[in-house]
Symmetry: D2
Subunit: 343 residues, 4 copies
């Protein structure tokens, strides 16, 4: 952390700042310019920020310089992390393709979808049993009944199951049915939930909050990892901006930035990211070209009959096409990355 002093701050003010920092056990390092003086502080940046240094006489502002995440950082773990889900490796040689309906609706319907997406090359099946809905009057999901249908679909197809968990009290229940626990965008900073899933060893699909920075996203991964669960899969799903033609603004820049800062695998959800089926396949392709380890998309045999999110849902035929393209692009992108690694 850097403490920037005001232009014209006095010697006494500078020394007062340094003294407070030293008393609290921080290392300090003074750097005086002709116009501006700064005090470098050595120690955890959150602890520095919590001091009221900024209120002290002569202080202009605090400027953080280091990243606050450790376990999630590439500095801590230079090699890419891969995560095993049944017989599929997320972050490995083949792109991860997760598909399924927004909400689990019926046992037979779900199995039909599962068989179709498996045939198209998906390794994991998604489907909401507990649904986060902005309206209390919207369909809230089938609950445990939905989890049973998901388990049945795994039984039939061998696909791993990804489903959202919304409260700490349900971790045990949901974890007993699924292979990957999904933390939704709205719960990215539900710290009680992060700690609860951190106490399991289940892989966690951690979606980025729609207005969270990449740093906060990695700190939420850190919460899970700090509890002992290293199996975190990140998932970019669009941020909120002023644009209205798309439901969200899928931030593909986050993919290479995360890969620079962290060793964790990162997927992309173009369905929520753009919110209109007509753009989903295109953005899935762009995601893979940006280096994503895979995609998660919503599919339904008849999107206009889906119980939720029909407008962003691919048909099974469109999904099959998309999956084929994703594999081709992933192979080409991998070959580019191999070339760069040898440059």
């Amino acid at each position: 952390m850097i403490v920037v002093m005001k232009e014209g701050s006095t010697r006494a003010e500078i020394e007062q700042v340094m003294q407070v920092l030293k008393q609290k056990g921080f290392g300090v390092h003074l750097s005086e310019g002709t116009e501006q003086t700064i005090v470098g502080v050595i120690g955890p940046r959150d602890r520095v920020r919590e001091l009221g240094i900024e209120n002290m006489s002569g202080v202009e502002k605090l400027v953080p310089v280091s990243n606050p995440f450790k376990l999630a950082s590439r500095a801590f773990h230079p090699d890419n992390t891969t995560i095993q889900v049944l017989d599929h490796v997320v972050g490995g040689e083949t792109p991860t393709i997760i598909a399924g309906p927004c909400s689990v609706e019926s046992r037979d319907g779900l199995i039909e979808i599962a068989q179709a997406v498996k045939a198209s090359g998906a390794q994991l099946l998604r489907g909401g049993a507990f649904k986060p809905r902005s309206s209390p009057y919207s369909f809230q999901g089938l609950g445990e009944e939905g989890l049973k249908y998901l388990a049945a679909a795994r039984e039939e197809t061998g696909l791993g199951i990804v489903s959202e968990i919304m409260e700490p009290g349900l971790v045990e229940l949901v974890a007993s049915y699924v292979d990957v626990l999904q933390i939704g965008a709205r719960n990215m900073q539900n710290f009680a939930l992060l700690k609860a899933v951190g106490k399991t060893q289940k892989p966690v699909l951690l979606k980025r909050g729609f207005s969270n920075t990449i740093e906060e996203w990695l700190m939420s991964a850190e919460y899970i990892m700090a509890e002992g669960n290293p199996n975190v899969i990140l998932c970019e799903r669009g941020i909120r901006t002023f644009e209205t033609y798309t439901r969200n603004t899928l931030d593909l820049n986050a993919v290479p930035v995360v890969q620079h800062l962290s060793h964790l695998p990162v997927l992309v959800d173009p369905s929520h990211g753009v919110g209109h089926a007509r753009y989903v396949s295109t953005m899935a392709r762009a995601s893979i070209a940006a280096g994503a380890a895979g995609v998660i998309v919503e599919v339904h045999p008849k999107p206009e009959e889906a119980w939720s999110d029909g407008s962003q849902t691919l048909t099974l035929k469109a999904f099959d096409e998309m999956a084929r393209q994703v594999r081709q692009l992933h192979e080409l992108t991998k070959s580019f990355q191999r070339q760069e690694a040898t440059m």
Copy 2:
């Protein structure tokens, strides 16, 4: 909800859309312009959006026209709601002033602060016992011990207690100590938590998420009210923008907008809203002039020794001054509003 057809959509496409809507039980209303045809849909907008109408041939987009909240809307309840907390009425004739430390730190320190803010005119004491921290390595609060100190401070001073609740499993515990349950910005769409506090009759201070729209905020109030708890106090606390000189961008526009749309009282938190003590009193004044029913601020005898958020914390002396100004401005603003009501 309005379905906007593409320019050049065919008669068959239009009829197909109308037929699907009718089959699902919606009323429809056709309006054909020379260039553009629209289909008005009568029925709950969330249900309409969930149909895959947007994927149908000839459809350009869906446009919502009605507000999705009911219990929280002014149309449903034309008069302002007031909420009793001990002997203070939130939304009543006197401005609500809530003050206290970011985190509860010690019993004696808390009581000292409580006595001071009461002397300055605060009616409620705030203090975090369970703290939402973006880093797992930051101080997470004293937990139940902190709640006990808060209850002791009420005992000593008569101030009502406001404290944050972060998970459904702790509602009973926290509610047994405090007078107002606070839902923090990060949990504004933690629906399990909203439902849990909705099952109590405790007043709830519902902070706006830092990237949530006013509509979503009112929908979260609706979640609480739909469970049977009408005692919702809204609190604006800053949204996230590109600006970096302030920690957040306090959105005071939200105050008159909420008052137009809803009957619920709205407070403002300038401490989190701007994030720097030097701007807090000014923005507290602006909040009251914007029509807020009161403010919630962080205070500490020695901000530079606070365990968290020192940089946005007022000294007791600055708070005393601010409270006096808030009362004067509130009276003047009320007199303006009374004049307007008679125009």
Copy 3:
């Protein structure tokens, strides 16, 4: 500027960075932590950023620490600047109230409005002769004819005239008619225009771009001042966010922040800031309580017949009421500020 080195950067990498900086004439200052090394750089930050330092081996990122504006900064000019426009002083003891129609429509209509707003206490008349419209098919303003009507209104009422200038080639023409040259939000970084108005001595009302930071805003003031024109009046008019209930998000935080960083007077435009007449008076009051030197609002005898922006325009009666409230609040706010200055 601070150069933050990667964790694990080598001694050779650090020295290479320092050498490049020294060669370019910058002072450097090394600060080595146990985990992170930073290099403080003394010299103009824009010049540092332009070096490709960030591309050098071992470098993590650059972090600016100083403000880039000089003439506009309070450090350079500690006292508040006041600006004389005819017999009114902007930033002085009385609040500046600027009112008028969005567009100049007719000579007689404009004079009628001018007389009314003068009677209500406005000192300056606004009105667009050249209009920035997002559609080429919208009314673009009366041009020089409109300027003539504005001059006629000044003749009749003594009000100073504020009107927008959109291109460098028209500075001489517009300046010959008006008392204050307005730079609109969309032109805040039209540097050719900033330089052109900087070559005059006319007061300039510089609106903040709807997605510009406060720093960029002050840099645009700096452009004008660097050309020799010190008479810059800043005007906050709302930023763009995800919120849709308001046309923009009026950022009142900007008022105290600008007053901390700069000596220039700052006004607020609540008409564009919120975009709905029903909220304009309330936000005008909040602006003054936030410390603004005044407001600029759109008024029209019959808003529903205005040629542009009718939905955010006050009636003459509502304006009269607002002006009275603004004066009362300004006096009260000034008294608060005087008390604070003596604390």
Copy 4:
């Protein structure tokens, strides 16, 4: 445009609204629901918005339903537009690759870069002669001297020249040297400039403003086209968000959205979009996979010696690699699009 009436609005209020609209010459269409009444308005939406309808008694809000652009819309011109620049076709079978230094610095240096990027497959050379800089103290470009160097580089290499134009008064001068007039992000709504370049027949590279919606961007294209110049090339270059790890947030969603709404070709500028050289090639690849017609990037033989924007500048070697990848991806993406067209 839709006029949404308040719940509980009276028959008299509804009829008053309809009468005003009819008097102004708009067609109206009434649609009464059980809770909400809406009035559909047929006619140009900007003219409707300018009426003060929203201020009328009983009116809740206005909701636009149609797109305001005509010449730029795909409805008006269903086939993709291609634009000839010397012997290259933008939007044609081969991807457009534009490369060059941020600023033109010297004649020989520029020619060296031009020869290198031509050898790597670029068809057009970029280089700033007039530079928009947020600080008046930053290097502002070589001006006409820079244009001469650019023309010399075309002479030597046959590459077409792209350079930025910042004011209407310089259109003739700049157009006499370059092959494509670039409108920078900050000038996207400099309407005087848009009209001026619209009066030429030179191709215009229109960058999206960093906080402009896609609709506003297409309206700015409409400004140019309405003056008679159909040769508009769109260029996405990143929007402003809360994220700080990237300089901007490159919005690749804009690529398929623009292609849905408009017939104009769209390029992407990953250099400004992410602002860090280490991410540029990756995002160039993602841009092509998103369907962009090409990319524009900054290159320099020694980025750390460039006079501006060094931190986002590719080396010649990295550019050569990127160009090769872009071509491979463009071919693959085109093959996907051809398959889709036949589905």
